[in-house]
């Protein structure tokens, strides 16, 4: 998958799950302050990403450091690229 395809799949999956407006989904958007997600959504977000990319990330410490949509893009792209 190209980086753009990864980003598109992340954004479309999160938009569907969390009723997000695509216009608000910029890489610098803070997932809590700007996109309105909260502690209840964090677990669901991991499940959505695992389902979309067919990998397991719920045990990974680095997931906790995610703050922006761009962080998610980078994290997932590194994961699917095997970096």
């Amino acid at each position: 998958m190209t980086e753009q395809e990864v980003i598109e799949l992340i954004d479309s999956s999160l938009a569907e799950e969390f009723e997000l407006a695509r216009a608000d989904m910029t890489p610098e958007a803070n997932i809590y302050e700007d996109l309105g997600l909260d502690s209840l959504d964090t677990v669901d977000m991991v499940i959505v990403l695992e389902g979309a990319f067919n990998f397991k990330i719920r045990e990974e410490e680095s997931v906790r450091a995610i703050r922006t949509l761009g962080d998610i893009h980078r994290f997932v792209f590194e994961k699917v690229s095997g970096l």
Partner: protein, 264 residues
């Protein structure tokens, strides 16, 4: 209480004396009713265990429902309660209920339902209120923030197995403008995983009783409408909960608009 009849809603602001009287009456009696409930609770609980012959958590949920009914009675000189389409809910049958959220008093209004065995799914903060937490834990309410998915599903399944209902507020927070907010997926996932029908409920009027951020109660009419149960077996697959959530939100939006226009 009134059942499914059109009633003209007056929009004239209430007189100041009426507001003062209502607030003295409602807050005063609510305090007394709560104190009485706390005092009587140990005896009523023991009697319930002895004569109802059912589990402690079920007796607790029955007690909470009675407390809600008492609250409705206290409010009734100033608040008109309307129940609509409640015949769609069969007593003794397991359902997952979802309801929109407008006010602190929405939970009290669930006493308008024809079933008393209601396990509420709530966030963690009410469990930190010591005057509530003991009763909530005894009633085995679901802490959707502090529990794992497996615990939530397991506890929901226990409630369903006993013919009870589980109730979610899918918006998670009170709406500030009365419009439906984003829906969380949890309740929809539980309904699908447990294989129970989902009944959407629409509440209107509690935002006028006590608008968010205000302390003065206002006379109003509160309506609670049940919508047709939805068979969750039709929502399979990875995005089944999203499709179910969208359908429920659409139906609730249409029903709320109709209710606010005064239709039945």
């Amino acid at each position: 209480m009134i059942d499914s009849n059109k009633i003209a809603v007056t929009s004239r602001p209430p007189h100041l004396a009426m507001l003062v009287l209502m607030n003295l009456w409602c807050y005063g009696l609510l305090l007394l009713w709560t104190l009485l409930g706390i005092l009587v609770f140990p005896f009523a609980f023991a009697v319930g265990l002895l004569f109802l012959r059912c589990s402690a958590d079920r007796v607790m949920r029955w007690f909470i429902w009675i407390y809600g009914r008492g609250w409705m009675l206290l409010m009734s000189p100033f608040v008109q309660f309307r129940r609509q389409q409640m015949e769609l809910i069969e007593t003794g049958k397991p359902y997952l209920l979802v309801v929109n959220h407008l006010s602190f008093f929405d939970t009290y209004c669930m006493a308008m339902l024809p079933v008393y065995d209601i396990t509420f799914a709530v966030r963690s903060w009410p469990f930190r209120m010591f005057w509530y937490s003991g009763f909530m834990r005894l009633a085995r309410y679901l802490d959707v923030e502090g529990s794992s998915w497996d615990e939530i599903l397991s506890n929901s399944n226990s409630a369903f197995a006993a013919g009870g209902t589980v109730l979610f507020f899918p918006e998670g927070h009170r709406s500030r403008d009365g419009q439906l907010q984003r829906f969380y997926s949890g309740g929809f996932k539980v309904a699908i995983a447990a294989g129970v029908p989902l009944v959407p409920l629409c509440i209107d009027g509690t935002n006028r009783l006590l608008p968010p951020g205000r302390k003065w109660l206002h006379p109003c009419q509160i309506s609670l409408r049940a919508l047709s149960p939805i068979n969750t077996a039709d929502f399979k697959g990875q995005d089944g909960h999203i499709q179910l959530r969208k359908l429920v939100k659409k139906r609730m939006g249409i029903a709320l608009e109709e209710m606010r226009k005064g239709g039945v």
